[in-house]
Symmetry: C2
Subunit: 363 residues, 2 copies
């Protein structure tokens, strides 16, 4: 059988640095017999610089063919003035859309060794483990009509929120499936009190629940109340399912609750391919952090844990994923910290590559 | 000169209870010579029960004519199954839209006596004082087309985000004006990296700044990053300006940071009327809290502080507003707490009306 294939898209800013550490980890698994066929290519600003587009058709084809895609980060001030259609983000959005990665899994987990880091009280976040499932291929991110048009003597900015029943149903199923392997609870968030798309969302999620997952405890919450409840007492949640735009805000909020953004991975999954694996893209939750790029300060853990998610969700290697996650915890427990994980304590930070090496050593 | 007129719309749930305490406060000001002509009417579920609509045309006319409107809260489980068009919320949304109340002022202030209450670390929130200015009459709340339509063999939920240049410019001006009287800083939040309406938003806010308010420090942030930064270190902000939907989530998030939702007022302001006063509606940030309605447990402070905002923004009575705010602080400093403000300490809660009486006594 051919080795599983992995397309690595380091992207911009700290993307290349953190991805270099993932390659060390992948090499270690290779030395243990789990060999990946790794290809690497450009995305985002890096692709724009080389080709005038944030994602070439050739790269898109490679992504479609790969067993899994691992992405670093896109964007940076250098590209802020670019036209909307060629901004770094469009490369990422094109990958999501054309690979039809409709379920974005965003775990928000608080690592014991880092609970102090949160701006929230320790008892509010310690042991926190929630999973946000964000719809990723529809909604206001992709709805038409969109654009800036002139009406009378002024311009109008227009975007369209659109959700079909089947788009809602499939991401709801992803959430219920995950809940079955976790705490059996799903909370769905929308603004059904204000938006018709939210009314349909609530109705379809309820129907999928009643017909296919009656064993799961389902609740509904308005997204504004959801933001409040996440802040007040996040441990009340197990799995949260929500649309693309609310998911963007709420998953970032949930990530920040843990206090350590540099730790959080994500997976974006689509329908199963011919080989049974879901189309999949993995990426850290943090951005490209241009302010610290190239200085060896970045924390590679979020990207390494994204690779762990790939092991689990794309390659059915749950044991290896758990082993990697344990190695990360062990390194943290030893006190190793990149600069972003240091408080007032006056400890010395380790560099990006020292952190990567330590994790490989702990494996 | 005629007395200033006030239309009181207690609404649903705890609305009537907390409004009764506001009337005590208004009566006290009356006894000092600041007499209001007060009328009272129905809104939300209460109006639906009486008239089959969450806001009658007659009430709408009264609201248009009043110098200021004070609203309690709308909604409740009893009305959850009502058709979208007659839900309690539609009454509130109609008031906002037809009075053209485009600037929703949502202060998030942390009261020293209550800082412990926040789920955030005390040092993160103590002394917090930010003002969120949310656009309130446009965006996805009101954009057309909207609805649930059938396409092929399935239904599609549709809403439209629409912002014109002038809609953005006027709310930006509100934010800059407020900043001049506060910390001279405005942060504007949108998703210009994903939404064209966000691109126009950013551009217009920048233009209003450069042409009319170059003295104010302006920054821009993506709304997801905004949610993160509000959670991480909210004191970095002074005034935040954002659209209707982002403002809904972000202002609730900011409110929850303070830990005491029962304390937070809001003002929704429109253009000046013939008498120079802005069209205005004041309401507490908390909802109708049906679970505790009618039990004398509700905290009337948010509604009383909304009346203080009315004194300041509608009646140019900044001194009286400050006096009322000080009375509230004095009562809290004495240790009086409604049930929502009690932690583990085992103190006895005071009732809604005891709290109102104490505030009047402190005046
Ligand atoms: C980079 C940006 C386009 C993206 C989004 O808005 O989805 C990011 O914020 C995310 O959450 O992955
Ligand atoms: C009650 C509801 C319609 C309203 C809104 O979504 O605007 C509320 O959440 C608010 O923020 O005032």
């Amino acid at each position: 059988m051919a080795n599983p294939s992995l397309l690595i898209l380091p992207g911009d800013g700290i993307g290349p640095e953190v991805m270099a550490e993932v390659r060390k980890v992948a090499d270690w698994f290779g030395s243990q017999g789990l060999v990946f066929d790794i290809d690497e290519d450009l995305v985002g600003g890096a692709a724009y610089d080389a080709h005038g587009t944030p994602l070439t058709d050739a790269t898109m084809e490679k992504a479609q063919a790969a067993d899994a895609v691992l992405l670093g980060a896109v964007g940076g001030p250098k590209y802020d003035t670019l036209d909307f259609s060629v901004k770094p983000e469009r490369g990422l959005l094109r990958l999501r859309k054309e690979m039809d990665l409709y379920a974005n899994l965003r775990p928000a987990q608080c690592f014991d060794a880092l609970a102090d880091f949160s701006s929230l009280k320790t008892e509010v976040v310690s042991g926190l483990d929630i999973m946000i499932v964000r719809e990723l291929t529809s909604g206001v991110y992709f709805g038409e009509p969109r654009g800036i048009v002139t009406e009378g003597n002024e311009r109008v900015g227009i975007n369209t929120q659109r959700y079909t029943e089947s788009e809602i149903a499939r991401v709801a199923r992803s959430a219920f499936e995950l809940a079955r392997r976790r705490g059996n609870k799903v909370c769905s968030m929308e603004k059904a009190n204000v938006m018709e798309s939210g009314i349909l969302w609530r109705e379809v999620v309820q129907k999928v629940h009643d017909e296919e997952y009656p064993d799961i405890e389902l609740s509904h919450m308005y997204a504004d109340a959801g933001a409040m409840q996440l802040t007040r007492w996040p441990k009340q949640f197990d799995v949260i399912v929500t649309d693309n735009l609310f998911g963007d805000l709420l998953s970032d909020l949930a990530a920040m609750l843990t206090g350590s953004l540099g730790m959080l991975p994500s997976a974006s999954l689509g329908a199963p391919m011919a080989n049974g694996r879901p189309k999949a893209l993995y990426e850290p939750v943090h951005g490209s952090a241009p302010d610290i790029a190239g200085q060896g300060k970045a924390n590679p853990i979020a990207c390494i844990l994204s690779f762990a998610m790939a092991l689990r969700y794309s390659f059915d290697r749950g044991d290896e994923a758990a082993r990697l996650e344990k190695a990360v915890e062990a390194v943290l427990a030893k006190g190793l910290r990149t600069a972003d994980l240091l408080g007032e304590e006056g400890r010395q930070p380790v560099s990006t590559s020292e952190m990567g090496d330590a994790i490989v050593a702990a494996l």
